[in-house]
Symmetry: C2
Subunit: 148 residues, 2 copies
């Protein structure tokens, strides 16, 4: 059940693979342990156990980063799960690959719409910014001085 022989073999040639506790990852990604456990309940991540404690590998850590990036982009956890399933999908058969191809193209299209939305909003607020700068310059005020 243990992997002592493997560990011993690797401990000489390889650096011992680093792992993280739930609190470490929570601090690093600025979320709570509760949130991470919640993602696990939803099947978005599945760390190993050491006794009852969760142990996160570098792969788990990357997955968490993936999840949180998805959240920042406005996807629900359900959508993120589908995307993770897609990203880590079974790529063994032709039909599977066809499915991956179709879904990834769909997702890219969704993302590109989001990209257009984002560009438009950035452009609008750049205009707001430019007008504000111009207004202050016209008044002879340095827009970069931050004195109240």
């Amino acid at each position: 059940m243990t992997q002592t022989s493997l560990d011993a073999d690797r401990s000489i040639a390889r650096a011992p693979a680093r792992t993280w506790t739930i609190a470490e990852l929570a601090r690093e990604f600025n979320v709570t342990p509760r949130a991470i456990r919640f993602y696990e309940d939803g099947g978005l991540i599945a760390p190993m156990r050491q006794g009852t404690s969760r142990i996160y590998t570098a792969g788990d850590r990357a997955r968490l980063g993936w999840i949180l990036r998805g959240k920042r982009l406005g996807f629900s956890l359900g959508e993120i799960r589908e995307l993770l399933d897609l990203y880590y999908a079974d790529r063994s058969g032709v039909q599977q690959i066809r499915g991956v191809l179709r879904k990834s193209r769909q997702h890219i299209a969704d993302l590109e719409k989001k990209l257009r939305d984002l560009r438009a909003q950035i452009a609008e607020f750049r205009e707001v910014e430019a007008h504000a700068v111009q207004f202050l310059r016209d008044k002879g005020i340095d827009p970069e001085s931050d004195d109240r």
Copy 2:
């Protein structure tokens, strides 16, 4: 050609400004009237009334588009309200403009982070797509044929 002259319109009579009902906007933007009323409850939009019925002007319509774009980008209604307040902010005084400048710059920075997230995700799924295409080509299958 079909566009009537602005000058002619002004000299005689203004074209009657078009307005929309809640159901019309709901259909156009693919949301429910309930959602639009909810945004109004939250102070994100404030249409005129004709009796008890809500009447939306072109400006209200644009505002609704703004709200929904914000949602697609992953902002909460509270955040969208702040952004709308910023966008339509009082720009009369120096202090107000300073505030607008500071907040719009902050918001642009947030959006640009989102842009980086988005580009990264698009790049990843483009790779997934490319690998799928390559896999099918290697098998002598046309990736564009959609036969099951």
